[in-house]
Symmetry: C2
Subunit: 545 residues, 2 copies
Amino acid sequence: MKISLLAGVLAALPCALAVWPIPQTFVEGSSNTQVYWVSISTQGDVGPIVANAVERYRTIINRESFLAPADYRRGELPTSGTFGGLTVSVDSTDETLGLDTDESYTIDVPVDGAATLRAKTPYGAVRGLETFSQLVTANGAGKAIAKTPIHIADAPAYPHRGLLFDTSRNFYSVAAILRTLDAMAYNKMNVFHWHIVDAQSWPVESRAFPELQTRGAYGPTMTYSYGDVQRVIEYARARGIRVIPEFDVPGHTYIVGESHPELMSCLNKQPGWDQYAAEPPSGQLNIAKPESVAFANKLIDEYTKLFTDEAFHIGGDEVNRKCWAEDPDVVKHMAENPGEDVEFLLTRWYSQVHDHLDQTGKTPYTWEETVFHSQYVPSSKTIVQAWLSHDSVVNAVGKGYRVVSSSYEAYYLDCGHGAWLSNWDGNSWCDPFKTWMHIYNYDIAANITDAAQRKRVLGAEVAAWSEQTDETVIDPRLWPRAAAMAETAWSGKADAAGHVRTTAEVASRLHEQRFRMVARGINAEPMQPLWCARNPGSCNLPQQQ
Amino acid sequence: MKISLLAGVLAALPCALAVWPIPQTFVEGSSNTQVYWVSISTQGDVGPIVANAVERYRTIINRESFLAPADYRRGELPTSGTFGGLTVSVDSTDETLGLDTDESYTIDVPVDGAATLRAKTPYGAVRGLETFSQLVTANGAGKAIAKTPIHIADAPAYPHRGLLFDTSRNFYSVAAILRTLDAMAYNKMNVFHWHIVDAQSWPVESRAFPELQTRGAYGPTMTYSYGDVQRVIEYARARGIRVIPEFDVPGHTYIVGESHPELMSCLNKQPGWDQYAAEPPSGQLNIAKPESVAFANKLIDEYTKLFTDEAFHIGGDEVNRKCWAEDPDVVKHMAENPGEDVEFLLTRWYSQVHDHLDQTGKTPYTWEETVFHSQYVPSSKTIVQAWLSHDSVVNAVGKGYRVVSSSYEAYYLDCGHGAWLSNWDGNSWCDPFKTWMHIYNYDIAANITDAAQRKRVLGAEVAAWSEQTDETVIDPRLWPRAAAMAETAWSGKADAAGHVRTTAEVASRLHEQRFRMVARGINAEPMQPLWCARNPGSCNLPQQQ
């Protein structure tokens, strides 16, 4: 009982600033401020993004009556001042959102009177509003801000803090996507990498090739119209989240064959698909056919317009040589053109498609295989997405490319769920399950010491591949694990004193964030028994302390 | 395209009987029967259980318009007869539900006219109604029963097909429990093993010791009143599901110490809990104190009345010797009574508590440690729950005990989710994740050849330990994997011809069951991309075929 009572006493103290992700710098006081009603106003011209965000957070904060699990026995905080509203101002109303967007902000909450949130851009203000919403806690019948006066100065460690969302293996409603964008905003994530099509289905409308959707969507209700896409983009932008679409070519394209078999190689080889693709159904655009270049480039023309972000992901992962080597058109081409083998054709294909994408003015993203496993050399403005190992990050920055890490070793949220091929009682290739602790401990910039190279590490992305995931399970598959990545990408691995944060230190704060997300309608999964969340430090392994 | 079209053609054929779990014997015809409206009537006296089940299934079937994913391209079935209603009759209206309850039934659906469901007991009729509900499929604007005439004769392979549900590590609302009971009924599972209390919280009301709940529940809204328990029991019984409560003693009882520290040993040792318990917080009933026997027996008196099933689970897993060896009372007792060491005290404690439980007339369940890791010898009517390995099943039946297998190697649904101690970036002790294929391939009676011993294997239980699970995630954690176990426990491992069913053979039918469960409001997780569900056999590993 003694220890239990002690835990109760500790829990009764107002906790230190518990914002997730933790701000770069903050100073907290020892008073508490009573909050009767959260009024938020703007100073000067702030633009529609900020105006909307103010509305949104006013609703969230006034509706919310959140108490962290570790504070469950906390009595009412004694307050010595009254909150006098929050005033938001921005230096610029430029609502351009991209890799260079400044997301910094400062917050000052006095013990008594008006608080201020200042940002350079509208998106900095959006981040600051999320931080401010996490400062307000339930207190008796009302609310309070603990540990005032508070000063926060914050900015992200990395400019790309993403989530890859796969809507092809299984379909997700627009509502599920919007809910996911909300959850991303709660964690200051800023890139929704929409892996919108893959081999299994083509949910998105195409006006250039309507048959892709009519033949390739899982059904008439399992589609994204132009209007749906625009809605997702606008909803994301309002939260400072970029939507980077991926149209993965030339592999992972079986579904194109449902309407355009003439463009394809090795279409749905059965049985024996495993010799032609990483997963069923097999099928790749036919690199011997100029029509497949024209097809890809017409898609690029269409979708670089529909998707307004400065970046565009052209895929390029897991292409299979055997698929082409056995293709009759490729075989014929090689016979007629000595020396022009699969590698030659693939390199030419890449150059024709990547050149076209470059000409649209977009920043291309491509999977690491394009750089490391082909002879093609993408333009220097290309951003490489590494996934096969941390070495890929090191190698990409070494080659002068900018890189985003979604290393499967840490960031593949689908892993550890066992294999999914019907006749195999085995594990998945990327076991084990990536725990939040494992994700949190991962360092995307490990072993990169050169400052210029380090700067080319743009950030991290968790990936929610959807072979075993759909709308029924997406929330707990993503959260709170994606939040663990989000903190390391926003706050960095170390605090201002250079101390690398440990999972034991941050667990209580992540519990708080998880319960906050649940209170906001996101079905984030529990990290531990509630007893552990309420008794910080009591569920650690002693030998590791 | 050729192969894809072929798959379409195959999918257009009405599928073979797709009931999950598959009936022991069934004969199907080659006609299809039109269903305009599902009327279900009863013949003779059937009793309230059947009358309620008829109401329930009439609603389910008429509301449902379910088409299996593999049938998505199927045209309207040509029908050559019209369904004339289902008539349900039972040989006996005895509503006693227990291990010996006969769950057999027969169903006959002619091409034209009235169908019949006959059962020996009301619970056989409940099982048959579930089967019948799965025969009805969407057909154009209406419904149909495919492959008539149909004759089914069915009965379970094992009498105990259970789910362990842990409401202590994290809390579940009554609504979540009722939804889970619905899902169990959809899979003909018949035992809800309610692991209702454990170290972390004591949600259930006690009238003998009200302080257990008031001090031990996670909060006033996270409780089960007597009325809640009775509601769960009645809801389960209506679905032919027994509720076997577990009050785990003497280990896993920290929470008793919140109100009765005087009964406890090694209460919440911090740090260093790992020397005293399998997980935090540590704490065991003090075996040196007669008061702890009196306490346990008073709980038995109370809860054997509240929980009306013929069986009662008394726990007994993972007791820690060091916890007692260092306890001052135990040390004192040993000093004063030479020879009466921890093993002696534990054996005496077990005998005083088990004898008391035996005297209530209940059938005791206990975890295998009581039999294998203590010197106590439970009465022969005790049912052993094995979990540490398949050898435990073999050994238990060898000792003459009846046994239920919840081997962690196959049936621990929480496993493979990584460790949950805040400061450890590692896996869980019971990795990897148990896939439905792994669960399906497991044989609880493997290597038991003696007929009498084999008969003592009563069945199987999947376990949903809740350290990393609560209401946000329970549906996908349980389903469809629990359904995989359910089929092996109801239908057995082999068909009538002795052929052991393979996961490749049953995958399509389990997909159908998964989507049916989703249609019925259970958030079962997807097994594969929808493309695989729609194209049976296309997502197998070729080498394994």
